[in-house]
Chain length 355, copies 2
């Protein structure tokens, strides 16, 4: 995969989720975690696309609180390539800011908008698909990657595939579908023409700006001061909290006629919860284990010991066990979604320092 000097990676690293508590904290959200032993997910994401867009053509959009951590994880990233959001205003604002920023430097720039916290098993296949998607994007399209579903998952949005556009394996989009209920998900899977929306978008910066202008002129008027190459952090701090908060899906994808989908299988997971790590257990292992783990007579577990610590289990099955130096989580594996209740209880229980 050769590098095209017009390709820019926009890595979306604003997430503040708590689905990996106690490992994830406000100051260390999921994208900063090393869940697989190969480095922080943000760094792995950046490395994965470096052959298409090297560090100087990578942007990271993140919260001000995480800016320094991003610098540490990505030492080759120019400091000005970190767009620090004073507060999260959803994906449309983040992408608009990134598109304005790239346009100043490269009016013909093609953006790859990528989540910072997803897993990809087959990196070579992924890079080939991204390069393909960029080529299609360069013809005046907004390209989204679609993952062929392998189970009736209710946790993802779906994209209904339309007609081939006769170029780069791309298809028109029949419809974007919200997270379905179980019955609907089963129908999608059976129908065969639905793919998971992986939240990865490819488009010319000028095109996305034009579409945003068309559908969200209010947002674009609000964000205009950030187009100034000499914009100060003070101005950003003033302007940003006033921006309309709307997702890029609602703002553009579900309205534009420019969007196409490129289906592709590359061993993708959004790694949505501790439970999801169970799918990543090592060959021949009946439990997922990371860190110094000692499991006696157990199976079906997700066992995670933070650096320098040990987790020992005796006779337990189908649990999530996570140790950090100041907190331990023990949860039935199939109830990992109830972690939200734990986090809510910590919030109300005067234990905010644990979040």
């Amino acid at each position: 995969v050769s590098s095209n000097s017009n390709i820019w990676a926009v890595i979306m690293a604003g997430g503040v989720g708590s689905r990996f508590w106690p490992l994830s904290r406000r100051a260390r959200p999921k994208q900063m975690l090393d869940l697989f032993g190969d480095g922080a997910m943000l760094r792995v994401t950046a490395d994965r696309v470096a052959s298409l867009a090297p560090s100087e053509r990578q942007l990271v959009v993140t919260g001000t609180v995480l800016g320094d951590s991003v610098s540490e994880e990505l030492p080759n990233l120019p400091s000005e390539n970190i767009l620090r959001e004073p507060e999260g205003r959803n994906t449309a604002a983040a992408i608009a800011w990134a598109a304005l920023w790239v346009k100043q430097r490269d009016p013909n720039g093609i953006l790859m908008v990528l989540p910072s916290d997803h897993y990809v098993a087959n990196i070579e296949r992924y890079q080939t698909l991204c390069a393909e998607a960029c080529k299609v994007a360069a013809t005046g399209r907004i390209v989204t990657l679609g993952i062929p579903p392998t189970r009736p998952e209710t946790g993802y949005g779906y994209i209904q595939i339309g007609e081939s556009i006769g170029q780069g394996g791309a298809y028109t989009v029949g419809a974007f579908k919200e997270k379905p209920d179980a019955g609907t998900a089963t129908q999608y899977l059976a129908a065969g023409n639905f793919v998971w929306n992986a939240g990865m978008f490819f488009m010319p910066c000028e095109l996305i700006l034009a579409e945003l202008e068309r559908f969200e002129p209010e947002l674009m008027a609000q964000i205009a001061p950030l187009a100034d190459p000499a914009v100060t952090a003070e101005t950003v701090a003033e302007v940003y909290p006033t921006l309309k908060s709307i997702s890029i899906d609602y703002a553009v994808m579900e309205r534009t006629d420019k969007v196409v989908v490129v289906p592709g299988e590359f061993g993708w997971s959004d790694v949505g919860s501790w439970r999801s790590l169970y799918d990543f257990r090592d060959d021949g292992q009946s439990s997922f284990k990371r860190g110094d783990v000692l499991e006696l007579d157990g199976s079906g577990n997700v066992l995670f010991a933070d650096e320098g610590a040990t987790v020992a289990t005796v006779g337990v099955k189908d649990l999530v066990v996570v140790h950090t130096n100041d907190a331990t989580l023990v949860c039935k594996r199939d109830e990992a979604q109830r972690l939200r209740e734990v986090v809510d209880a910590l919030k109300t229980g005067d234990r905010g320092e644990l979040l």
Copy 2:
């Protein structure tokens, strides 16, 4: 309970067990742990008998490695009242040394030999029984406390009760019995004249020295240099490792005709494992919880968070969960005895710093 100026407490604090891993470590064995939120078990033990034997008449026999920790826990204890064993040589040697030490200062001294890591619910009743036992001891007896059994426990030794000696609720001893199998334990319970051996002994220092001289002259010859009030740490370090290693039960109790038993119920437990803490759960609670514990939809658990840490559980039952800053244990409650396997695995697995 009034203090008799001849009563000396000999607190046996040489234990090095690992049944409370990961909370217990070599440098912090069970007697140094605060399992109930009322202080280290050693300190609670010392406080419990302070009305009978104040600090200046308390001795703590412990390992050299723990000497400083003992001083910190018991700041009023004179430093010379800590007998530091260079290595453990079992209970007969420890008691012989303590008896020699007391005899130098108080030839008429009565010793209360007490484990440092047991639990007593009814402190007043306990103090009354100890005072009673000391009175009986002063008539030339070795008194042992016996706990009326409440279940066919196979983890304790038993004492068969003989005839009343018509004094202080004391009885002759029919026999000492090793830890029984389940069937035998059930028979003991049904028979009604067996009590648990709590390992608490009361006797004049001169009497126990005489009996040791009678039954274990070799040990007494070996230990003789330690009778010198000016004995140095160097001499102790030379002599101690050569001492015969034998329990006081084998050396004296099971051989002497001076022993009597005082049965008494005072809410005793030897707190032998994490599992045993389940019996100490708070009123109305279906799990034992210590420290900052957040339990969602769980029951039957023993949940322990070390100081400054949080344990959160979701949907789990009948587990032991223990968090310390560098290790977490998760174990089925009924398999807590398999903790030994964990500790053995840590020993062989180059993780000795966790022990």
